[in-house]
C-alpha cells in the first residue's frame, strides 16, 4: 500500500517522516473533537498501520520512530480523553455479571440503523460505498485483538484464542474472515486489495478503526479492547442478516452475501463467548478492569452511532443534490 495523501498538517507531517522528507516540527494536536477530524484520524491511522502491514517503500524502522510515537501519544491522549468525556454520563445496566451487562447494553442500542437502510432502500452505489468504507476495518478483521492475546491469562486467554481461531478460518485459509471480505469486494466489482480505499475513508471510518488499534496497542486499555469487541460482536448478527437481504434485493452475487451470512451465524456464537468467557473471566481475574471493559463497550456503541450517521448524512445529502 502507498502512503496516503495528506489531508492537513498532522497527516502531512507523518507522511513526510514516512517518505523521508524533513518534516520540521510536529504540528500541535487540536483541542476540539478528534472523532470528526480527518487530518488527525488519518495521521493516527498511519502511525498504527506501521504495526500491521506497513507501506510500500517505507523503512520498517519507521514503526518505532520516536517522533511518530511522540505525536501518536499526544493524539491518543486527546482522543481517549474525549471518548471518556462523551461516554461518562451513559447509563449502564445494574447487574453484577459483567457479561450480562454487556449483552444488555448491546440490546439497548437504539441509534440509527445503517443495516435497516441497506436492507430496505439503499441504492447499488450506496451499498458499494458501504462495502468500500468498511473494507478499512474488515480487511484486517480481528487483527487488533490478536495483539491483546499475549496480555491475557487463564480462561480469558483461552476464550480469546478460541474466538480468533474461528475468525481466522478455523484452520481453513478460505474461511479467513478478512479473505471472505476480500472475496465479497471482488464479487461486488470493488478493489479487494488491503488499503485500496484509504484515500476515500471518512474521518469517522478512520476513527472507528483507530479506536480498536488504540485499545489493542495500549496494554493499559486491554479491558476496553475486549469490552469494545463484546459490543462489536453482539451488534453484528441481526444487522448482517439485514445487509445480506439488502444485497439480495439489489442483485449482488452470492459471494458478496457469503461474508454477511457467515457473520449471522458466527457472531451469534461470538457474542456469548466475548461477553462471558472473555470479559467475564477477565473481570473475575482482574476486577479493576471492569470499568474499562464497560468504557470500551460504550465507545463501541458511540462509534456505531457516529458511523451510521456518517453514512446516512452522506447519502441523504447526495439525494438533495440529485433532486
Amino acid at each position: 500500500m502507498q502512503v496516503p495523501h495528506a489531508r492537513g498538517p498532522l497527516s502531512a507531517w507523518v507522511r513526510d517522516v514516512l517518505v523521508g522528507v524533513d518534516p520540521g516540527h510536529a504540528p500541535d494536536v487540536p483541542e476540539d473533537a478528534l472523532t470528526g477530524n480527518e487530518d488527525a484520524q488519518l495521521a493516527l491511522w498511519m502511525t498504527y498501520e506501521l504495526h500491521y502491514r506497513g507501506f510500500d517503500d517505507v523503512s520498517p524502522d519507521a514503526e518505532w520512530d520516536l517522533g511518530i510515537l511522540a505525536l501518536r501519544r499526544q493524539l491518543e491522549r486527546r482522543f481517549e480523553e474525549q471518548l471518556r468525556a462523551v461516554t461518562a454520563s451513559a447509563e449502564v445496566p445494574l447487574d453484577t455479571d459483567v457479561g450480562e451487562v454487556l449483552l444488555d447494553l448491546a440490546q439497548s442500542a437504539d441509534g440509527p440503523s445503517i443495516a435497516l437502510r441497506l436492507q430496505r432502500d439503499a441504492t447499488v452505489d450506496q451499498m458499494r460505498d458501504y462495502l468500500s468504507q468498511r473494507s478499512i476495518v474488515q480487511l484486517k478483521e480481528s487483527d487488533p485483538h490478536s495483539f491483546v492475546l499475549g496480555r491475557l491469562d487463564g480462561a480469558a486467554k483461552v476464550a480469546l484464542a478460541e474466538l480468533q481461531y474461528d475468525e481466522y478460518g478455523g484452520g481453513r485459509p478460505g474461511r479467513l474472515h478478512a479473505a471472505l471480505y476480500a472475496q465479497a469486494l471482488r464479487a461486488a466489482g470493488l478493489d479487494p486489495q488491503y488499503g485500496a480505499y484509504i484515500e476515500q475513508a471518512s474521518a469517522v471510518t478512520l476513527a472507528s478503526v483507530n479506536v480498536m488499534s488504540m485499545f489493542a496497542f495500549n496494554r493499559r486499555l486491554r479491558g476496553a479492547s475486549m469490552g469494545h469487541l463484546a459490543i462489536f460482536e453482539a451488534t453484528s448478527s441481526l444487522p448482517c442478516r439485514r445487509i445480506s437481504r439488502g444485497l439480495e434485493r439489489l442483485g449482488f452475487p452470492e459471494d458478496v452475501r457469503a461474508y454477511f451470512d457467515e457473520h449471522v451465524e458466527a457472531d451469534a456464537v461470538h457474542e456469548h463467548v466475548v461477553a462471558h468467557d472473555i470479559c467475564g473471566c477477565m473481570v473475575a481475574a482482574e476486577p479493576d478492569l471492569r470499568d474499562d471493559v464497560l468504557f470500551g463497550a460504550l465507545v463501541c456503541l458511540h462509534m456505531d452511532d457516529l458511523v451510521a450517521c456518517d453514512f446516512l448524512q452522506r447519502w441523504d445529502s447526495d439525494l438533495q443534490v440529485a433532486s
Partner: protein, 61 residues
C-alpha cells in the same frame, strides 16, 4: 481427544456447545460442526436451524 462435550444454556439465548462433531436437527438431519463452539437455537425461530441466528433478540420475552 477425551475432553467432554460441554453444553451451556445462555440466559434468554441459545445453547453453546463445545466439542461436538455433529448436531442433529428436529428432523433428524445431521449438521457437521465446523467451529470450535456453536450456538444451537433454543427459541425455535432461527432461520438457520439448528444454529442460532440471533432471532430470539427480536422476539418479545
Amino acid at each position: 481427544m477425551n475432553e467432554p462435550v460441554v453444553v451451556r444454556q445462555c440466559v434468554d439465548g441459545p445453547m453453546l456447545v463445545r466439542g461436538a462433531d455433529v448436531v442433529l436437527d428436529d428432523q433428524g438431519n445431521e449438521h457437521r460442526v465446523t467451529r470450535p463452539v456453536v450456538a444451537v437455537c433454543t427459541c425455535g425461530k432461527s432461520q438457520r436451524k439448528p444454529w442460532c441466528d440471533a432471532t430470539h433478540k427480536v422476539i418479545p420475552r
